[in-house]
Symmetry: C2
Subunit: 330 residues, 2 copies
């Protein structure tokens, strides 16, 4: 039954965590499902499912109805992390051994496959069967785009020149579309109007891009105490982030060459490399450009949130979470 109240972020996280705990993968063969339980137990902020539930909650209070879809999105996200970690040969996931390290690559591939299938399985558990085809359509589009984003990301590693527009498209596909599709599904499950579902989707898409740009900025300019990852990690890995690509656009030929050299020469002194790259970033004042474009995306996002036809008070929680994500908590 609906309790006619808005749920807090914490309460949504708790509701969702309870649902995960009640839906452990306990079937045989254990060798296939142990890694699934393992990666799902590593935690994380559960951002995608919580945003899906918050989207539902914009339009209706009975958020439990959106839990299967929220779990579908979380399973899908973890499937993509699992397979990405194999492709990237990443040893760690959230500070713990990655699945392919702990259980072997073959099990990692197969357990990832079965997770992808279970994402559909949970989507199918949504109580209103009349919208199941629509949910599958939205979910499929997202799932395909996430794979395409990962492929572009891998292409960029060996590509000499990456256009900024192509980079923005890649982060949209790899990160933002899952947030967008998830929130759109949450809205549809709640019975939202088509236009409102579209607005919440665009809100999420633009917030997602802004969030990734923020991540690029924090990699260089973040507070080591607050930033979850190692500051300068992207620089050490020669990742073509927005900061790098925009710097290459802004810099004169000499500076450009210096940056390209730094990124293609093996280095033993990581701190020196981070400092040298950061110096170049600062010379062209790339941070302000990155902040500017991030703000542009944020503005589009909030315009879409404003346009949704529900009382303003129902949107407060989404504003609050967005501010938190952008590191502006008061």
């Amino acid at each position: 039954m609906s309790n006619r109240t808005l749920h807090s972020i914490d309460s949504l996280q708790n509701v969702f965590q309870k649902y995960i705990n009640e839906h452990k993968f306990t079937h045989e063969p254990q060798a296939l499902y142990d890694p699934v339980n393992y990666i799902l137990s590593l935690g994380g902020k559960r951002l995608r499912p919580v945003l899906l539930l918050m989207s539902y909650n914009l339009f209706d209070d009975e958020v439990e109805r959106a839990l299967p879809a929220a779990f579908a999105v979380e399973i899908f996200h973890n499937f993509s992390l699992l397979h990405d970690d194999i492709m990237d040969e990443a040893p760690l996931r959230r500070g713990k051994p990655a699945v392919h390290i702990k259980y072997g690559t073959n099990t990692g591939i197969l357990s990832g496959d079965v997770m992808l299938i279970y994402a559909y399985e949970y989507l199918l558990k949504t109580d209103d069967k009349t919208i199941v085809p629509l949910l599958f359509e939205l979910f499929n589009k997202v799932a395909i785009e996430v794979c395409e984003g990962q492929q572009y990301d891998m292409n960029f590693e060996t590509q000499a020149v990456v256009e900024i527009s192509a980079y923005l498209k890649m982060i949209e596909l790899k990160t933002a579309v899952l947030l967008a599709g998830g929130m759109q599904m949450g809205a549809h499950i709640a019975g939202a109007e088509e236009a409102d579902a579209k607005h919440i989707s665009e809100f999420a898409r633009n917030i997602g891009i802004a969030f990734q740009l923020q991540d690029d900025i924090l990699d260089t300019y973040g507070d080591p105490e607050k930033f979850g990852k190692k500051v300068g990690g992207d620089i050490v890995q020669n990742k073509k982030t927005y900061l790098v690509l925009k710097t290459l656009e802004l810099a004169d030929d000499t500076t450009k060459e210096a940056l390209n050299n730094l990124m293609s020469t093996p280095t033993t002194d990581e701190t020196a490399k981070i400092n040298a790259v950061k110096k170049i970033f600062n010379e062209v004042n790339v941070r302000s450009h990155a902040e500017k474009i991030k703000e542009d995306y944020l503005k589009i996002a909030f315009d879409h949130l404003d346009a949704i036809n529900v009382p303003n008070e129902r949107k407060q929680l989404l504003r609050q979470l967005s501010e938190q994500l952008m590191g502006r908590e008061s």
Copy 2:
């Protein structure tokens, strides 16, 4: 429009091949979709989609309506081959370089992932949207079971003792359930009664198990001219086939030890090994046991076919194809 005729096996293969040709994966990024087109172009008998179409054709003539689902099943099958080849480190697929050899393992993983998603995408294209949730339910069950079958198969490699019942369950999951689920979907798309859809599914499940047992038998006793694969390949790879497991059950301790030794000792003379194992098989007359159990499954299969409530003439093509598959073409 329906042409009110039964389709021949050849014509169904042609109709299906035409559909594949018209649905090439031409989108960007090419690096993601080239391997998909490649593995789908390697051919094969298109057994699964053709059986799905034949199942549809039992109940209705407008088989084109089942083409998207047939393609979904073929895409899924090729996805599982693609990922299995990575796990098995198989260099070849249908005599050509496997995807992970031609395009690299990372692309192989990701292209397989996107194929799995496209299987759902095509399932979703089925014209009667009211049965889409049912199709997804059937398909999901199958897809999960295929993954479980592959995991059991991998488990068996390192498992000292494999029960015959566990082996039969594994081949059912890895091979038969996809035939069964595909034919069940074909029946539902044609609007078959629930009972008939169940019968065709059980027909396919039991034919599938019989077919795999036949494959085990042919590996040792097949005509090298007719058997598509190298005779004795399972023996060289120490695969725990029905012949091996049943021999271990029938043999005395000395013979059992001899077989276990042959299967655990590295060998340079493959022909000698094949002959030695075959000699042990013959001592316990394992072939007749294998033929017997295969016939048992075939009998169950045909009993289910008989029970389907359509005119007998509509079942002739399925009988004919089954006989072909069992190598009994006249």
